[in-house]
């Protein structure tokens, strides 16, 4: 296993769309192990996406199980993920391993259903909410070359909750 270097914004690779993964081999699983080690090495990291370490493929990891009193699925591998259902919207705080010393408020869907392949190429379906759903939406944005900076809202906006999530 090895710690990977985390790219920092404004690295251009963080703003690029990622390619689909087609080969589910041992090399992919080795990369996932490195990616996981890198995520856990950062302070408070609950998710990471492959482009953050310079690999422009649709691969992300999320594990929010260290947080108390929330629903979660433990460690989840998200390869070629797609959100198929959104519900509700809520303002919450986000920060990014690729952008030190800045956090901001972002509107996310409260509940999502998503499909993704695991490290063996098996298609999985997850329904999730709250903190875990926010972490997944943050990572999936990375795969499309989006950062939470692209979605910042002002501090006041939670007074006027928006009805539609796009």
């Amino acid at each position: 296993m090895a710690l990977l270097e985390i790219l920092q914004y404004p690295d251009k690779r963080l703003k690029q769309s990622c390619d689909e993964v087609v080969l589910f081999d041992e090399a992919l699983r080795t990369f996932l192990a490195d990616l996981e080690e890198t995520m856990r090495a950062g302070p408070g990291g609950v998710g990471i996406a492959a482009p953050q370490v310079g690999r422009l493929e649709q691969i992300a990891l999320v594990d929010v199980s260290a947080k108390k009193k929330i629903k979660h699925h433990g460690r989840i591998v998200l390869i070629n993920p797609e959100i198929i259902e959104w519900q509700g919207s809520v303002v919450g705080r986000e920060g990014c391993l690729s952008l030190p010393d800045f956090t901001g408020n972002v509107i996310r869907a409260e509940t999502i259903t998503l499909e993704a392949q695991d490290e063996f190429g098996e298609r999985q379906r997850y329904k999730m909410e709250g903190y875990e759903a926010r972490a997944v939406q943050h990572e999936l944005d990375h795969l499309k070359g989006m950062l939470f900076l692209d979605r910042l809202v002002s501090r006041r906006s939670d007074l006027f909750k928006r009805k539609v999530y796009k």
Partner: protein, 173 residues
Amino acid sequence: MDKWFMAVVVGPDRPGIVAKVTSALFNGGCNLGEASMTRLGGNFTMMLMVQHDGREKGLRDLLAPVVASLALHLHIDSIKAELHHHIEPDVRITLFGEDRSGIVAHATATLAEAGLHILSLESDVAGSKNRPIYVLHIEGAALEGVPSLESALSIIASEGIETQLTPVDTVMG
């Protein structure tokens, strides 16, 4: 090289003030740090961290033409700058209710006693002239934990003010 000033600019609001003030600073070779600008009761208000190698007087001279032409008030202090050391808020608190005297003093004193370190505060007087509504929005650090703030808020709520506390649980990913 690391001399920082806090410039406070206040005056009648009109479009273009930020652009004119910051252009004057840029043309004078200054760097900008963090800033906050809000329109308060029709007034333009801005606080701006400015990095400037000269003296306070030099900075004042740079801004003098803009200040005069826009009828602004300018206040400058030399400061110690702490960039890249943000404190993360862990609670967001909203209070609102019929406007009455002492509402901010009372609410913030109660919350301070319960361990709230306010990192940002915004308040508005909403509603109509006859029935003004006060809205207070705070982000802060709960130095003695969230339950302590919750009990403080229940005291404030019992006095007829609507309160809402949302823990800020930052997703780092």
